[in-house]
């Protein structure tokens, strides 16, 4: 049996690991103790390797583990980081000082793509800025009937096609095509072993989960409401859909959006929308999504739709990194960029260029017809 103080320290280490986003539970704490007992706490190389195998669950954790281990158990850092926190909690910042400075250096304006194509597009061509805006938006037009009718029609059509998706798994179906020998024989027992009634199987239908990440920063202000209406129409048709707004931070709005009372929906959205039409930090928002939501929401039948112009003021490389992690989890990633419809547009904005290799569909979606085309492309890719 280990000494009590050592047990507490090990538990603190597991808690630190957990705070840093590792998927470890109570069982792992217990097993970490058992390993420490069998291997012995003095042989620290073997213990490090054994715990790494136990506590890590994916490649990036595997590579981060050594730093966390050292920062907890090695002396100079231990005094700094552990004594202040009895339970060893608190996430330790990863070693990305160089990148963080780039982020702090202030707004880096990114021109490169032309006007958004509309007469009043001055706001949409300014690029991104890092400052958060304090204003909230006016949501009164969100449910105006004339604006939403056309959108509703397109979305209803999309939802119907979505419901027809099939998988390779089978389920029993009278009008199916494949003979279900198993069921046929099982049911033939009642008739004395004569398979008089045949049973069939057909491919199971699935409804994939949709996750919408809508950029509502100032550079997207021309389109924000349009996408919000689309999201509302989708939420009304589909049950398994999750909508997030992001600008400088990420907000989950599914609940507010699907509120049946239009007035209350507007009020709730107005409260949630602090920062609307402000700056953009797509990379940070995706990182927040990956850390807090992805494990819970994204499974292998999830399609993620990101609506953004790709103007990002966050740290370089972060957007690409986070999008790659997200692409590994999700089935498909669709990026809708209204600027793509502008003649001569090339995805030169840094954020967009970083994102491109990880996308399954890159579409314009600046109006209803092109959005319909984008959704059709998504259907084909699902």
């Amino acid at each position: 049996m280990l000494e009590h103080s050592i047990t507490a320290k090990i538990a603190g280490f597991v808690a630190t690991i957990r705070e840093n986003g590792f998927a470890v539970g109570i069982d792992e704490s217990a097993d970490a103790l058992r390993i420490a007992e069998t291997i012995g706490i003095t042989t620290h190389t073997a213990l490090r390797e054994a715990w790494r195998g136990l506590l890590c669950a994916r490649a990036d954790e595997w590579h981060r583990f050594d730093d966390l281990f050292d920062s907890y158990w090695r002396k100079p850092n231990r005094q700094k980081r552990v004594e202040s926190r009895a339970s060893g909690g608190g996430a330790i910042e990863q070693d990305n000082a160089a990148g963080a400075e780039g982020g702090k250096a202030g707004p880096t304006l990114q021109h490169g793509a032309g006007d958004a194509g509309d007469a009043g597009a001055s706001t949409a061509s300014e690029g991104a800025c890092a400052a958060a805006a304090l204003e909230t938006a006016d949501f009164r037009t969100l449910t105006a009937p004339d604006q939403t009718r056309a959108i509703d029609a397109v979305i209803r059509n999309f939802a119907r096609r979505l419901a027809r998706l099939k998988t390779r798994r089978d389920h029993a179906d009278k009008s199916g095509r494949r003979l279900d020998l198993r069921r046929t024989l099982r049911r033939s027992i009642g008739a004395g072993g004569t398979p008089s009634r045949l049973h069939f199987t057909a491919p199971r239908r699935i409804r994939p989960r949709l996750i919408l990440l809508l950029d509502v920063s100032r550079s997207m202000s021309l389109y924000s409401f349009f996408y919000l209406r689309v999201a509302r129409a989708l939420a009304a048709e589909l049950s398994d859909i999750h909508v997030f707004l992001y600008h400088t931070h990420l907000t989950h709005i599914s609940g507010a959006l699907s509120d049946p009372d239009p007035w209350r929906a507007q009020e709730r959205l107005a409260m949630l929308s602090a920062g609307w039409a402000g700056g953009t930090r797509i990379g940070d928002c995706l990182a927040a999504f990956n850390r807090q939501q992805a494990a819970r929401l994204v499974h292998s039948r999830t399609a993620i739709i990101i609506a953004s112009d790709g103007y990002d003021t966050g740290e370089a490389g972060l957007l690409g990194r986070e999008l790659r992690a997200l692409a590994a989890r999700a089935r498909r990633i669709v990026w809708i960029n209204p600027l793509k419809a502008v003649p001569g547009y090339a995805p030169t904005a840094r954020g967009m260029a970083e994102a491109l290799p990880h996308l399954d569909v890159f579409a314009s979606g600046h109006d209803l017809a092109s959005l319909d085309a984008a959704l059709t492309a998504l259907m084909a890719a699902l």
Partner: protein, 295 residues
């Protein structure tokens, strides 16, 4: 228990079985037994994930049972299935033999049960090594089912009753990352990330697998393969490819890389480079440079 000695012994045994394992992998494999968790191995294709299971089976001197996963894999292909054809034959035979010649129990007994890998692994007298290969290719529903099986080690067959594992198999899962696995399964497993090997490790593997390779050629081959991995290739050559290439060069009767011209090496590179873009990217000048660098 002297853990350091146990680790060294396992490493030695693995090497004798033709697998060169780092210390960290040996530690993890020992833990598999001591705390009874499956091991999840991830890494690029061709770094030797599947070999771990084969080597472990050889070291433990036990059976290797392999379940290859694919999209649409279901319990009937992974767990068990009744042999309907034989059951039908038995019924027909019993019919011609007269009434009451065949009872229900006789029809649903082990004779007519087709054991698929998972059931097979649970009913072995000696604990086998169960390799669940490329689990990322199966869908999420199968993963959830597997999670349940790996925690209880029992299966219930409606016609037969619950079958509890006679011995707990050593389970190794591999994943190439075509789909991210659920956090629940990851949490349940021990984890090992297998990277491309270092020069020394790859040389040791080559020595263990193809001992007839001349020492100079072996060194050159590994140096060549290691520097090839630093190029921006679509498919980086793994250890399996290096071994294939060595076999090809031995077949050509070479005792050193610089004996052969770039053309001859280029022809044999088909074993190392597997996409058209990669073959085009490595031209004769590059090959000559790599050979010169390999000494």
């Amino acid at each position: 228990m002297d853990s350091a000695a146990a680790i060294a012994t396992l490493q030695q045994n693995l090497r004798a079985a033709g697998y060169v394992a780092e210390r960290s992998l040996a530690v993890t494999m020992l833990m598999m037994e001591s705390i009874g968790r499956p091991l999840l191995v991830e890494g690029d294709p061709g770094v030797g994930k599947t070999e771990i299971a084969k080597a472990l089976a050889r070291v433990k001197n036990t059976r290797l049972i392999r379940l290859q996963c694919y999209e649409g894999l279901d319990t009937y292909n992974a767990l068990y299935e009744w042999n309907y054809q034989r059951q039908l034959l038995a019924i027909k035979r019993a019919e011609s033999a007269g009434p009451a010649a065949l009872g229900d129990d006789e029809l649903f007994c082990e004779t007519y049960l087709l054991k698929r890998p998972l059931l097979e692994a649970l009913t072995q007298p000696v604990a086998p090594v169960l390799l669940i290969d490329e689990i990322d290719r199966a869908d999420a529903a199968f993963e959830a089912f597997l999670l349940e099986l790996l925690s209880d080690y029992q299966i219930s067959i409606p016609e037969l009753g619950t079958i509890t594992a006679t011995t707990i198999p050593l389970v190794i899962l591999t994943s190439n990352g075509t789909r991210d696995l659920s956090d629940a399964l990851r949490r349940r497993c021990l984890y090992h990330f297998l990277d491309y090997p270092s020069f020394e490790k790859e040389l040791a593997i080559l020595r263990a697998r193809l001992p007839q390779t001349p020492a100079r050629l072996a060194g050159q081959i590994i140096e060549f393969a290691q520097s090839l991995r630093r190029y921006d290739l679509k498919k980086k050559p793994g250890i399996a490819e290096t071994l294939d290439w060595t076999a090809a060069l031995l077949g050509l009767g070479l005792s050193a890389l610089d004996e052969a011209g770039p053309e001859q090496i280029r022809d044999s590179l088909a074993t190392l480079l597997k996409t058209r873009d990669d073959i085009l990217a490595i031209d004769n000048a590059t090959i000559a440079r790599l050979v010169a660098a390999a000494g």
